[in-house]
């Protein structure tokens, strides 16, 4: 039986707000991010069929985003390091400008072949995709016929979508639909985990417009 997956990207973190590369750092939600997350409890309670299980990246910004959902649904949360964002290696903490100025060549090399060339000291997109998909497929296998909600990262969501042929955009394509903070993406994962259908591309209709952030 297929599994219904609701994938939620964490709320705005402090480094999202100032444009610094986070990778697997323990940066918490910003005040705005906490406000965004507060809308997720109501969202989660309204989901049909009802959510039966919760999975979460173990990074702080995801844990904090999951809290109102877990509280609203009264379900335990299972944390999984495989649901973490890409490890950005030695670029962690750099602003966009700093990355271009001080690591321009390494960044360009990664962008030319993101699946093969790692971020300096970090992961390739293939690394991210492999562990994200592994976690999602395992979730599917553990929850046949159920609706599962997962809080994770933008990179993770995009790689899962790409793996199933549902996202024809590169990670830096400027005209790609954004996977915004607390956006909800819905997939139907086929039994066996080798195919998926995109039921809802990243959606932020649960948020008032002034709380929407990239």
């Amino acid at each position: 039986m297929a599994t219904l997956l609701t994938l939620i990207r964490h709320g705005q973190s402090i480094w999202n707000a100032v444009g610094r590369a986070q990778g697997q750092s323990p940066i918490p939600l910003s005040e705005l991010g906490r406000q965004q997350a507060a809308y997720l409890g109501t969202l989660a309670m309204g989901l049909q069929p009802p959510v039966r299980a919760l999975y979460c990246s173990d990074l702080t910004r995801c844990r904090e985003t999951m809290m109102p959902i877990a509280e609203a649904l009264g379900l335990p949360v299972r944390y999984d390091f495989r649901l973490r964002e890409i490890d950005v290696g030695v670029l962690q903490g750099l602003s966009h400008d700093e990355m271009e100025l001080y690591a321009g060549e390494a960044l360009a090399a990664h962008r030319r072949e993101p699946m093969r060339v790692p971020l300096p000291g970090g992961e390739t997109r293939a690394d991210l995709r492999a562990r994200s998909v592994e976690a999602i497929v395992e979730i599917g296998a553990a929850h046949p016929g159920q609706h599962v909600l997962v809080v994770t990262h933008g990179g993770s969501i995009s790689e899962v979508l790409r793996h199933f042929g549902l996202w024809p955009y590169t990670p830096w394509q400027v005209d790609a639909p954004p996977i915004q903070n607390t956006s909800r993406t819905m997939l139907r994962l086929a039994e066996g985990g080798d195919a998926a259908e995109l039921l809802l591309p990243p959606d932020t209709s649960h948020l008032p417009s002034e709380l929407i952030t990239q």
Binding site: R20, G23, Q24, S25, P26, I27, P28, T60, D87, G89, V90, L91, Q92, G93, L94, E98, Y102, A103, G121
Partner: protein
């Protein structure tokens, strides 16, 4: 008895030093103040003991600090990743206070036992010391009786001074400020004597950081 003179230098000031973001392996270069510090350092060293070789961490803030010193003596800077700063792992870019605020449990564990407990996803003091000591041993073996300079970071300077026995291993060490010089005489049996520890007398007061 052959005595080697070892000068350990911490790199100059960077923007992240200023905003108290821990750099680790981040490729942050010297800022204008750091470049000025490096020039003063080179001028001071030009008037000191001639150097035979200069090594440096391959991180840009060290390479930029080493360059003017090397130029004074017509030497090439020899890059060695053994002299890199701690890999701070997933705490790179955080201030010390943020590390404590955002990851209090790991912070406490590391504070209690920095030798064994690594930065999350990064290095422990034991790991950093192992590579710094290996790097230093190789340098000393290559330059018996000479004056050799190593441009590196705060973590490695502390580790080196502890290893050479010129700083008590149980304490955190002196403030190793930007472009500070620590000079140690090492004999062929590895016995060391401190000549200067974390000296910044080459800097005018308004350039000290």
């Amino acid at each position: 008895m052959t005595t080697t003179l070892l000068t350990l230098i911490r790199h100059g000031f960077t923007d992240w030093n200023q905003t108290k973001r821990a750099q680790g392996l981040a490729p942050i270069p010297l800022n204008a103040q750091g470049l000025a510090q490096a020039r003063h350092l080179a001028d001071a060293m030009a008037n000191g003991e001639a150097i035979h070789a200069i090594y440096s961490s391959d991180l840009s803030r060290c390479v930029q600090t080493a360059a003017p010193v090397a130029a004074v003596f017509g030497l090439e800077v020899r890059l060695d990743p053994a002299f890199r700063e701690y890999d701070l792992g997933f705490w790179q870019g955080l201030s010390g206070q943020e590390m404590q605020d955002y990851d209090p449990e790991h912070y406490a564990r590391r504070k209690a036992d920095p030798w064994h407990v690594p930065f999350p996803g990064g290095e422990s003091r034991a790991m950093l010391s192992a590579r710094v000591v290996a790097g230093l041993d190789a340098v000393l073996a290559r330059h018996p009786g000479q004056h050799v300079v190593v441009v590196t970071h705060s973590g490695p300077v502390h580790a080196a001074l502890r290893h050479l026995g010129v700083w008590p291993p149980s304490q955190d060490g002196p403030a190793v400020l930007n472009t500070s010089r620590s000079v140690v005489r090492v004999d062929e049996d590895g016995r060391a004597e401190a000549v200067l520890i974390a000296d910044i007398s080459h800097l005018p007061a308004d350039l000290v950081s």
